[in-house]
Amino acid sequence: MTLWWIGSIVLLVVIFPVVVYLLRAVLESANSIVPTVDGIADVARAGSKDLDAASLLITTREQATQTIAGVADYGGSLDQIIDDAVEA
């Protein structure tokens, strides 16, 4: 009988608070992750939106190629027009 009482009281006074403490800690940890994940999602969306202009790099590459081709043509003409420097 005494052991029965002791077991019941231990279960009620010790085990139950420990279980509550542990479960509450798990819940708080889980709840603390939620705003962090929401923040990461916002950053990911903003980062994706910032990269919308990345497709314009294709146009930039084509224009750079055309510009350098023009510079090469221009330089080739100058190479024929102007005499080379005379070494002193």
């Binding site: 009988m1 029965w4 009482w5 077991g7 019941s8 009281i9 279960l11 009620l12 085990i15 139950f16 279980v19 509550v20 479960l23 509450r24 798990v26 819940l27 889980a30 709840n31 992750i33 939620v34 994940v37 929401d38 990461i40 999602a41 950053v43 990911a44 969306r45 980062g47 994706s48 990269l51 919308d52 990345a54 497709s55 790099l57 294709i58 930039t60 590459r61 750079a64 190629t65 510009t67 350098i68 081709a69 023009g70 510079v71 090469a72 043509d73 221009y74 330089g75 003409s77 100058l78 190479d79 024929q80 027009i81 102007i82 005499d83 080379d84 420097a85 005379v86 070494e87």
Partner: protein, 210 residues
């Protein structure tokens, strides 16, 4: 019989209450944890979508930027080589320093020794540049809108291409051009001639006292 039953019932009730409380706590906290984990899961789904878009959009960036850098490197190599070939390394640095003061200190990328050269005086460089432009003459493609435009130095078309650089209408072969002004004795407009021009001086200039 009643006492043992009551004695057994009392701690049993306490244990049952404790077990029920533990089960209720488990249910409450586990359900709340499940709800929080579901919110985390949905948030991570949004993150994955955003990161996937970032990966997809940034995938060709490296290749494109490398291609642009290669083109720019080729342009820099060509322009530096042409400048040094035509003006010489020392005058090249002077020309650069005259256009962008202080830029000669950095030197040319393909000519590391250029950073040690003291650029010539700006006046000398300017004179050299002016002579170079003058040497280019009328066929210089300085005013051409695009380097890929008309071919200069073309034996057959070079003259027309050169004339097109100037705001003249003569190269269009117009039917009638404005008449040039007529001067001289046959000019339609004669100005009054002063009598004192060409006549002997009425008074000789005096010498200042020494």
């Amino acid at each position: 019989m009643g006492m043992p039953a009551a004695g057994i019932a009392a701690p049993g009730v306490v244990m049952i209450v404790a077990v029920v409380l533990i089960v209720l706590a488990l249910v409450y906290f586990l359900v709340a944890t499940i709800v929080a984990l579901r919110r985390i899961s949905s948030g991570l789904d949004e993150v994955i979508v955003g990161v996937g878009e970032i990966i997809e959009k940034s995938a060709p960036v490296n290749e494109i930027v490398l291609a642009i850098n290669e083109q720019l490197d080729a342009g820099v190599d060509a322009l530096e080589g042409l400048l040094v070939k035509k003006a010489g390394l020392e005058d090249s640095m002077g020309l650069i320093d005259s256009v962008y003061p202080g830029a000669a200190a950095a030197g040319l990328r393909n000519f590391p020794e250029s950073a040690e050269i003291e650029p010539p005086h700006i006046g000398e460089t300017y004179t050299l540049g002016t002579l170079t432009l003058a040497r280019l003459g009328r066929e210089a493609p300085i005013a051409a809108a695009s380097p890929a435009g008309a071919v200069l130095r073309n034996v057959e078309g070079g003259s027309l291409a050169a004339r097109e650089l100037y705001p003249s209408v003569r190269h269009t072969s117009p039917q009638k051009l404005p008449r040039s002004p007529v001067i001289g004795t046959d000019a339609p407009v004669q100005y009054e001639q002063r009598e004192d021009i060409g006549a002997p001086r009425k008074r000789l200039p005096t010498r200042p006292p020494s």
